[in-house]
């Protein structure tokens, strides 16, 4: 594969593995050398093996379409993405700092709202947020932690800096794929693990269990369940996988009832048995038809009463989505300074809040260069990407922003980093290694302690030039390696 690697050129983009043509970064040197010395036949064999493993391990995701839901094999690229350990250690500190501030913020706004009274951020932003839940006022979950599982999205800009793009606090998904990606790499590139100190990720299920158990410090051996919306949910594979790996009871809303004593029970062959901790993979809106959406068939009537009475712990806590809002995101650096008295270690993407006069003025002048996002949407809906848009679309957003400035933020268009990716199918004659854009989703567990996955899930846009990393829209994924310093001559 020497020819393929010699021709590889990321151009002006920041590349995760390659500093310049013929010049791998220090942490990637051994990997690139290894791959360079593979014959194209052997490389193709590895790709085929990875596809076979994925089918055998049944790693799928669901695509919703008019023709019914289809389980597709998980798209995976065998060339790992590498982050040097020293850089990752700083990132980890930054992620921990950020989740501590976010949890203190949620705890504050449901218990008096000191940050609002002190004028650090305007109260109506919070109260109007789609994720704000009046039903949670006055509640303090175990350890004061609301967002127990967080999956932040990080992106690297052409300046080489990792920015936090968003904090996914509701029901972030993807961690099962992070674990499976490592399993696949171990099977298809086993030799390379001897030459590099790669931090293991396999500890996540145990950490997840420990975190969930820590939500009931009063019990020695709490019963912990993972609540799924069911097999038709796009993340069902992950729900079943995590339950299996962590040893959680996998159940659905219909398996649970709330008793007269306000404990939550599951229906077993022995009758009703108490459940102490619920890791719910279902949105707030559907969790309790008594409190939220009455038409929800997925939830458990009365579960909010049980939670407020402290008889069951729910992760993530209901109402934690309030901090997962694009406008509130703009204030996270202020939160860190306010609650922790520290400067943020990880930067936000610079964000213009359209409700501020000067920000709005700037945004309206530079619309064609910016990305505009509505406050309460996720998954890329209702967005304007200025440079890739039409003048009509830009004008449409100008009107939208002027009519409802509170609902919009804008950010500069980032130039996401790229990483070498194999781009031809094995049946074609030539294999091409080409730069493709990536992001990174690390997972942060917060209970009694905070734990960050070493690395996370790297998603890659498989189409040339595309920035869309979602697996439903032609995105794939890669194993992510945090690589420490290599001591020459030492076997790992």
């Amino acid at each position: 594969m020497k020819k393929e690697w010699n021709q590889y050129d990321p151009g002006a983009l920041y590349d995760e593995l390659i500093a310049a043509v013929h010049q791998p970064r220090e942490a990637s040197y051994k990997l690139v050398e290894y791959l360079r010395h593979l014959t194209p036949e052997r490389f193709r064999q590895c790709v085929q093996e990875s596809e076979a493993v994925i089918r055998e391990m049944g790693i799928t995701f669901t695509v919703y379409s008019d023709a019914g839901n289809i389980d597709r094999a998980w798209p995976f690229d065998i060339i790992p993405r590498i982050i040097p350990a020293a850089e990752w250690d700083c990132t980890e500190i930054g992620l921990k700092q950020r989740i501590r501030a976010l949890n203190m913020f949620i705890q504050d706004i449901y218990n008096g709202g000191k940050i609002l009274k002190d004028g650090v951020m305007p109260a109506d932003i919070v109260l109007q947020s789609k994720g704000y839940r009046q039903a949670c006022i006055g509640m303090t979950p175990p350890h004061g932690v609301w967002a127990n599982i967080c999956g932040s999205d990080l992106v690297r800009h052409s300046d080489g800096v990792l920015y936090v793009l968003e904090d996914n606090l509701r029901v972030p998904s993807g961690v099962a794929y992070m674990l499976e990606n490592r399993n696949i790499t171990k099977r298809v590139l086993p030799e390379i693990f001897n030459t590099l100190p790669i931090r293991p990720v396999s500890n996540y299920p145990a950490q997840l269990y420990e975190m969930l158990a820590s939500l009931r410090p009063d019990l020695d051996d709490p019963t912990i369940a993972l609540m799924t919306p069911g097999i038709y949910n796009s993340a069902y594979f992950e729900h079943a996988f995590l339950a299996q790996q962590a040893g959680l009871v996998l159940l659905e809303g219909a398996d649970l009832v709330v008793g007269k004593d306000e404990y939550v029970y599951m229906k077993t062959i022995k009758g009703l048995e108490r459940v102490d901790v619920i890791y719910r993979r279902i949105d707030d809106d559907f969790i309790d038809p008594e409190v939220f959406r009455e038409d929800s068939m997925l939830g458990v009537p009365g579960i909010m009463r049980a939670w407020k009475a402290g008889k069951v712990a729910i992760a993530n806590a209901p109402g934690c989505g309030v901090a997962d809002d694009k406008v509130i995101y703009a204030y996270v650096p202020d939160m860190i300074r306010y609650y922790l008295g520290e400067e943020p270690t990880l930067p936000n993407v610079p964000t213009y809040v359209c409700r501020r006069d000067e920000d709005r003025e700037y945004v309206l002048e530079h619309l064609a260069e910016l990305v505009v996002k509505p406050a309460n949407e996720s998954g890329g809906y209702g967005m304007l990407v200025g440079p890739h848009s039409t003048p009509e679309k830009v004008e449409e957003f100008r009107t939208l922003i002027q009519e409802d400035p509170n609902n919009y933020i804008a950010q500069p268009t980032l130039s996401l980093s790229v990483t070498p990716t194999s781009c031809e199918t094995p049946h074609q004659e030539r294999i091409k290694i080409a730069p493709r854009h990536v992001d990174l989703r690390p997972f942060i567990l917060s209970g009694k302690d905070i734990f960050v996955t070493p690395g996370g899930l790297t998603r890659v846009a498989l189409v040339e030039g595309s920035l869309v990393v979602n697996s439903s829209q032609g995105g794939g994924s890669k194993d992510t390696w945090i690589v420490g310093d290599v001591v020459e001559g030492e076997e790992v």
């Binding site: 049944g58 009871v249 229906k267 062959i269």
Partner: protein, 319 residues
């Protein structure tokens, strides 16, 4: 354990047993037909009758020839007891109870799924079909082996054992019922010449030939084969053994009284007559009755453990 999960592992084991038995039955029947002259009471359609599927079959197919019958029994998802349906149900039940099963089971279920996707288009070809059916049996045995060696003897395991034995009894009784029809006193003289071959094939279809020869010390003949398959106490494929094993398993489960009493009753009824001595017509009646009692036993299991709060709820899976 969750009632819903109990129901799923129970059905997983039933479908697994059904799939393996169906694959074996088709292979054995194919081999048998190669030994028999054409134009006999025994033909491809015998298999359709064995599954009581005459009606469903005639709704979808015009001719009862080998190609159609194999398509129907192996690949057709309109047929609730086709091999493809059973295997799809095994996988679906594994998928929804991953948290209680050893990890390899899921990989095995996926391998079967891939095997089916690749092989089903080619089953019209006898050669490819036999290889496929052998592969299916092998995968089913792999799953059973992994369950056997890696699973704690917990309630999930109990429910699987119960499901397996119930399905096994049901399949055995269907095969015996069909045999009794073929061996009725008014059978043709041509067929009489092949009695021995028929009984040997019957034993093979139930993986019982070697154990029969080992333990019975008799040539293969009707009366002792029937007795072996109904009453033997150490062969795990006999009706008596399976029914006794079921009630033994039930004892480990909470509140087992009703289903255990029922299982006991089915056992007694099945052993009350000497199947080696009664006429073929009576064997037929006895097997019919056994099958309907198995239905009642299943309902009792579902009422006790799967739907304790909604007695009378119908089963959500199965025939």
């Amino acid at each position: 354990m969750l009632s819903r999960v109990a129901e799923r592992v129970y059905w997983m084991a039933r479908y697994l047993e059904r799939a393996e038995k169906t694959a074996r039955l088709i292979n054995v029947h194919t081999a048998l037909l190669m030994d028999l002259p054409g134009r006999m009471e025994i033909n491809w359609f015998t298999l359709i009758r064995l599954f009581n599927a005459e009606k469903v079959f005639s709704e979808h197919y015009e001719w009862g020839n080998e190609a159609n019958i194999m398509q129907f029994l192996i690949a057709d998802t309109n047929n609730p007891s086709s091999l493809a349906t059973s295997l799809a149900n095994v996988r679906e039940n594994v998928r929804t109870s991953l948290d209680v099963l050893p990890e390899e089971i899921w990989e095995q279920a996926n391998q079967i799924h891939l095997l089916m996707t690749n092989s089903l288009p080619r089953i019209a070809d006898r050669y490819a079909r036999q290889i496929f059916l052998r592969e299916v049996m092998k995968h089913c045995q792999c799953i059973r082996g992994a369950l056997d060696s890696h699973m704690s003897r917990d309630h999930s395991f109990d429910f699987m054992q119960i499901g397996k034995h119930l399905e096994r009894t049901d399949m055995t009784s269907r095969i015996l019922e069909m045999t009794s029809l073929l061996l009725s006193d008014d059978r043709s003289d041509t067929l009489r010449k092949y009695d021995g071959i028929l009984w040997t094939n019957l034993l093979q279809a139930l993986s019982a030939r070697q154990m029969y020869l080992q333990h019975i010390h008799s040539r293969v003949e009707g009366a002792s084969v029937m007795r072996f398959l109904m009453n033997d106490t150490v062969f795990p494929g006999s009706v008596g053994y399976s029914l006794a094993a079921m009630s033994r398993r039930m004892r480990y489960l909470p509140d087992p009284d009703m289903p255990m009493t029922m299982a006991q009753r089915v056992l007694e009824h099945s052993q009350a007559q000497d199947v080696g001595a009664i006429p073929a017509e009576q064997v037929h009646t006895l097997m019919d009755y056994l099958q309907s009692e198995l239905g009642v036993l299943h309902a009792e299991i579902a009422k006790t453990w799967f739907y304790p709060d909604r007695s009378g709820q119908q089963q959500t899976q199965g025939l």
